[in-house]
């Protein structure tokens, strides 16, 4: 395998096969299926191709890069998604204008290579000798994201296991905790990626890392919102508090600005002083805003009075806290009162001399124009939405969110720019359209991690039950299967995928069976791990096939002992017979056994196949003979033939083995046993036609003659001996 990688901005990752095609042991694609490659675009795809080329070099980084989706011809369509030809991507290094291409699918990747067939009338000639491996899911191969995959695996398994135990309130608390755990893993990953982006010197890598940071941060933002809306299901009043936390957590450029302001010698004279105050007010961080305002008051005696009044207003602003017993009506009443007070000051022109304070007062009153003026400070429409809710509708109900969200988006963007994928995802969440959220995320994000885990969590919240797909079983399972399949294509992460398949009741097992057979078994330890997984799940077919593969490998490497162990483990009688034959053949050629340590210790596994039994027993005969336990050896030898354990082809060898016993000084074979031996010899020779007898080499006939002689002599001796014994 070549080691060259092209790291691309696209979700592909390619690896070039440097050797010639003939040297490749992977299954070669059949040339019968020409690839629909970029050279001959589908009719509707002309524009798409240009787009794809453009996306090759992403220079600026939007909050969520919009071109990160895997092309949907790599995916089954999601519910509601129509099947259309998406944009095209060029595979670098492939020139499909010269030659026809062919391809073949693998579980997680695709092989592409040139065929011998030229396109059009071009002259024949050697083409590109490379096989391209086009991978479907690039993110699986990201070093930093591996931490995300590994850590979230533990959380996922924990969630599935704990499901039955809890009910009601504690159940919700547990689900929120799980959601927070997922988020903290995303955050940790993001921080690590950020560190990498800072520390690396390679500009291309840096760009890649920063893109990843953006994606991860967008993922966390979406997840957090989904947590508030779908998992926490915050009631009116509390909802706003969660949303405020959400905005504070994700708009964090402020903190550096504030630090700069506070660290300057004279904070109130700093150019960003009022910006900092505004940001605090916009985010509802009243205490901090008041703290800053006190600096202005102490530095500027003329505005002291105004500051005091504004400070008082901020202090008095009624806020619902999560633990309080205040009812919504009480809250609304207080709010009304406070609102009127603010209104009064504004009408009196109390702040007229200071435009900054006046605008803050307007913000407190929920004046949309005043808030919109601070667009730069809020940076996003959802910040605007939350600020607007804070000062005009503090007791907003979850169902009302959608109206405010839509109008906030429209107001904020003013029709100047169209909403980006992230905006539509958040909007869908505000609209309680879970399926829309999942669908949009699937399209916008380059991996299945996010949607798979989010959908699973929401499914545990019992939010997805009504929905059934027209394919597969349900959304949760569909997404988990896709994600786990991606993991399986990675040489280290495949083990994580197993647990995901386990929790897919409908198709998980089938997927696991198909994928596990494709795990390369390069060491025995890995084979044992795969085997353990199969055995735990009663996948007998796969256990057999893995053992067979390992046994075949061992045979090819001339490790018969190992091969036998594997076939015994698989209880594969046919293969055990095959290997036993090899052992016997080796014995016939060399006159001694190899791998005695194994054959001597077969134990009950000897009964797996007749041939193996024979091998074990035959070896036992040799051991008895070696230990000079002749009569036992003789008995065993005879038994091997009379009980038809020995294959006929081996009888001659056994009879020859009897020769030294027949020639011993003392009589070993009794008369009866000798008769049986003779019958065996006759059975053996009778089977052959006269033709064979005479055409057969002289050695064979000599052997038979010697045997007959020896048998006759032994019979005579035995009769004499037995007669004497009886007589005496």
């Amino acid at each position: 395998m070549g080691e060259a990688f092209w790291r691309l901005q696209t979700p592909f990752k390619m690896k070039t096969q440097q050797q010639g095609i003939t040297g490749c042991s992977m299954l070669l694609p059949s040339p019968a299926r020409p690839l629909r490659a970029s050279g001959d675009p589908p009719r509707a795809g002309g524009a798409g191709q240009q787009e794809a080329q453009k996306s090759g070099g992403v220079s600026h980084l939007p909050a969520l890069p919009s071109r990160l989706a895997p092309p949907s011809y790599f995916r089954a369509p999601l519910p509601g998604e129509s099947r259309e030809w998406p944009q095209l991507r060029l595979i670098p290094g492939v020139d499909s204008n010269r030659k026809q291409m062919c391809f073949d699918w693998g579980p997680g990747e695709m092989l592409v290579c040139e065929t011998l067939f030229p396109k059009g009338r071009e002259e024949k000639g050697l083409g590109c000798p490379n096989i391209f491996i086009v991978r479907k899911d690039q993110d699986v191969y990201s070093q930093t994201l591996r931490k995300l995959f590994n850590e979230s695996h533990g959380i996922f398994v924990g969630l599935q296991k704990s499901e039955e135990e809890l009910a009601g309130k504690s159940k919700k608390a547990q689900l929120v905790l799980v959601s927070k755990n997922y988020r903290s893993v995303i955050r940790a990953c993001m921080e690590e990626m950020h560190q990498l982006a800072i520390s690396t010197r390679d500009p291309e890598l840096q760009c890649q890392h920063s893109t990843q940071v953006c994606i991860l941060s967008a993922m966390e933002l979406i997840w957090n919102l989904c947590e508030i809306i779908f998992v926490e299901i915050a009631p009116a009043g509390h909802l706003l508090l969660y949303l405020l936390d959400w905005v504070r957590l994700h708009v964090c450029d402020v903190d550096s600005m504030v630090r700069e302001v506070l660290n300057s010698e004279n904070p109130s004279k700093h150019k960003d002083f009022w910006n900092a105050v505004d940001i605090f007010v916009l985010q509802g961080r009243m205490d901090e805003a008041r703290h800053l305002l006190s600096k202005e008051a102490s530095a500027n005696p003329t505005s002291m009075g105004m500051c005091r009044i504004l400070d008082d207003l901020m202090k008095k602003m009624p806020v619902l806290s999560i633990g309080s017993t205040q009812t919504l009506t009480e809250m609304e009443l207080k709010w009304q009162h406070w609102h009127e007070e603010c209104q009064q000051y504004l009408q009196d022109g109390t702040f007229a001399s200071n435009p900054h304070m006046e605008s803050i007062c307007k913000i407190l009153l929920g004046d949309e124009n005043a808030i919109l003026e601070k667009r730069e400070l809020m940076t996003t429409w959802y910040h605007f939405l939350v600020t607007r809710l804070l000062y005009s509708h503090p007791t907003v109900k979850p169902v009302e969110l959608r109206f405010y969200a839509q109008s906030s988006l429209d107001l904020f963007l003013e029709g100047e720019s169209s909403p980006e994928p992230l905006d539509s995802i958040l909007m869908a969440a505000f609209e309680f359209e879970i399926h829309q959220v999942i669908k949009e995320c699937s399209i916008a994000l380059s991996n299945w991690w996010f949607v798979a885990h989010l959908t699973d969590l929401l499914d545990h919240c019992k939010l997805l039950q009504s929905h059934n797909l027209y394919f597969g079983s349900n959304m949760r399972e569909f997404l988990l299967l896709e994600y786990a399949s991606g993991l399986f294509s990675h040489r280290c992460l495949w083990q994580l995928g197993v647990d995901y398949f386990d929790y897919c009741p409908e198709y998980g097992k089938v997927y696991l069976e198909l994928h596990i057979e494709r795990i390369p078994l390069n060491t025995e330890q890995k084979a044992l791990k795969v085997l353990r997984i199969c055995e735990q799940r009663q996948m007998h077919e796969q256990v057999r096939s893995i053992c067979k593969i390992m046994a075949m490998k061992a045979v090819r490497n001339n490790r018969l002992g190992s091969a036998l162990s594997w076939s015994i483990r698989a209880k594969d009688a046919a293969f055990a017979t095959l290997i036993s034959d090899r052992f016997l053949k080796d014995y016939c050629e060399r006159g001694s056994f190899s791998d005695l340590d194994l054959i001597d210790n077969l134990g009950p596994s000897m009964l797996l196949s007749d041939r193996l039994t024979f091998l074990g027993k035959y070896r036992e005969f040799h051991r008895l003979y070696g230990e000079k336990r002749f009569s036992e050896a003789a008995k065993l030898l005879l038994m091997l033939m009379t009980a038809r354990i020995a294959p006929c082809s081996f009888w001659m060898t056994l009879l020859i083995d009897a020769l030294p016993l027949l020639e011993q000084k003392e009589v070993i074979f009794s008369a009866e046993q000798t008769y049986e031996l003779m019958r065996c010899l006759e059975d053996l020779t009778a089977g052959k036609t006269d033709n064979q007898k005479f055409q057969g080499d002289d050695i064979e006939t000599t052997k038979v003659d010697i045997l007959r002689l020896a048998l006759a002599r032994n019979l005579a001796r035995a009769i004499v001996k037995e007669g004497t014994l009886e007589g005496s």
């Binding site: 083990q495 390069n522 025995e524 330890q525 190992s562 009950p604």
Partner: protein, 358 residues
């Protein structure tokens, strides 16, 4: 316990200050886990383990051990054995010595076919012994270019692990459940003694020897069973202890505190076996869901010095703790030294415990 993220960790080794780890991303890393001498009595140690350096490695790493303070011996799935030197002054790793084809298969058709995985390595300065899937045993010396001694076809099945019994004798375990003693003083290429479990031929995956009483040997097998052997007598284990639910990948006596034993397994657990507690004072208990330890065979009837040969189920039980609960993926490797224990897992993390006995 501290956790380090890494790629899948297949093995760990400890030197006095450092921890070497490798994963199947084929990289060897040296981590500093801090100075053991300076760990306060309260037990806290400031700072995370630090990655000092790493180096790429050809093939999957199957086993590794510190040869001395600055050299590590690494066994590869390609059949090569490499000594890496860790330069402490500039924190780099370099190849010190490599035996390219230490383990290989002989194919009747192809004269030089692929290497066979080297499954185990053990060092006893200056000697290094390796075993592999090809059933070969190699004896190397750090300063010799060629193997000092090779026993071809030492085993007809795969050798899984090796350890020194005495300076000239080694112990190997194989995939048909045999424990063999080899004596390098003998010129015959045959084991001087073979021990085996009962007829079930359950593969053995790991072996370790008691640091002070060299006749006591512990092995772990595919069924998760821990066997304690007395190599002075009998060919059967002294005791069989039902332990893990899946393959036991590694077993280690604590080098200076041999009443403690550590085992790790494919089922994702890492167990601490403690025989030092005085059972008459403490009630015996087992920390994992009330599963009790069954001692299957028991032949220790002589006056024994070691607690390991004397675990009478009725009188004294050992205390067992699972050190990494909630781990679902395999714990592949562990090493223990002083108060420090490290283990590497398939969930791509290394766990470090610096206060074993506190």
């Amino acid at each position: 316990m501290t956790k380090i993220s890494s790629s899948s960790v297949c093995g760990v080794a400890l030197s006095s200050l450092e921890l070497a780890a490798f994963g199947d991303e084929n990289k060897i890393s040296i981590w500093s886990v801090g100075d053991f001498g300076n760990v306060g009595t309260s037990g806290e140690y400031q700072g995370e383990p630090q990655l000092l350096c790493d180096i790429r490695h050809h093939g999957d790493v199957m086993d590794m051990q510190f040869f001395d303070q600055e050299r590590i011996v690494v066994a590869s799935s390609t059949g090569s054995v490499t000594i890496f030197r860790h330069h402490q002054n500039n924190q780099t790793l370099s190849i010190n010595q490599r035996w390219e084809r230490a383990h290989y298969h002989v194919d009747p058709d192809i004269p030089f076919c692929g290497g066979a995985s080297c499954t185990g390595v053990i060092c006893n300065n200056p000697e290094i012994v390796t075993v592999g899937e090809d059933g070969r045993i190699n004896l190397f010396r750090a300063d010799h270019k060629e193997a000092v001694r090779t026993i071809e076809n030492a085993d007809s099945s795969t050798l899984h692990a090796v350890t020194f019994l005495r300076t000239t004798e080694i112990l190997t375990v194989n995939s048909i459940g045999q424990l063999k003693i080899w004596d390098f003083r003998q010129q015959r290429n045959e084991p001087s003694q073979i021990f085996s479990l009962t007829g079930d031929r359950i593969p053995l995956h790991c072996v370790d020897r008691h640091p002070n009483q060299q006749h006591i040997v512990a092995t772990g097998g595919q069924d998760g069973m821990l066997s304690i052997w007395d190599v002075r007598q009998g060919s059967m284990p002294v005791s069989l202890l039902n332990a893990h639910e899946a393959e036991m990948w590694e077993v280690h006596f604590h080098p200076s505190n041999p009443d403690h034993l550590f085992t790790c397994s494919e089922d994702g657990s890492l167990w601490h076996w403690d025989t030092s507690t005085d059972v008459s004072e403490k009630p015996s208990f087992f920390h994992q869901g009330g599963r009790s330890i069954t001692v299957l065979s028991h032949t220790a009837n002589q006056s024994v010095i070691s607690a390991w040969l004397n675990n009478n189920p009725t009188k004294d039980r050992m205390e067992i703790t699972n050190l990494v609960p909630n781990q679902t993926l395999s714990v592949n490797s562990l090493d223990v030294l002083g108060p420090c224990l490290v283990c590497g897992t398939d969930s791509e993390a290394i766990y470090v415990n610096r206060h074993l006995f506190s």
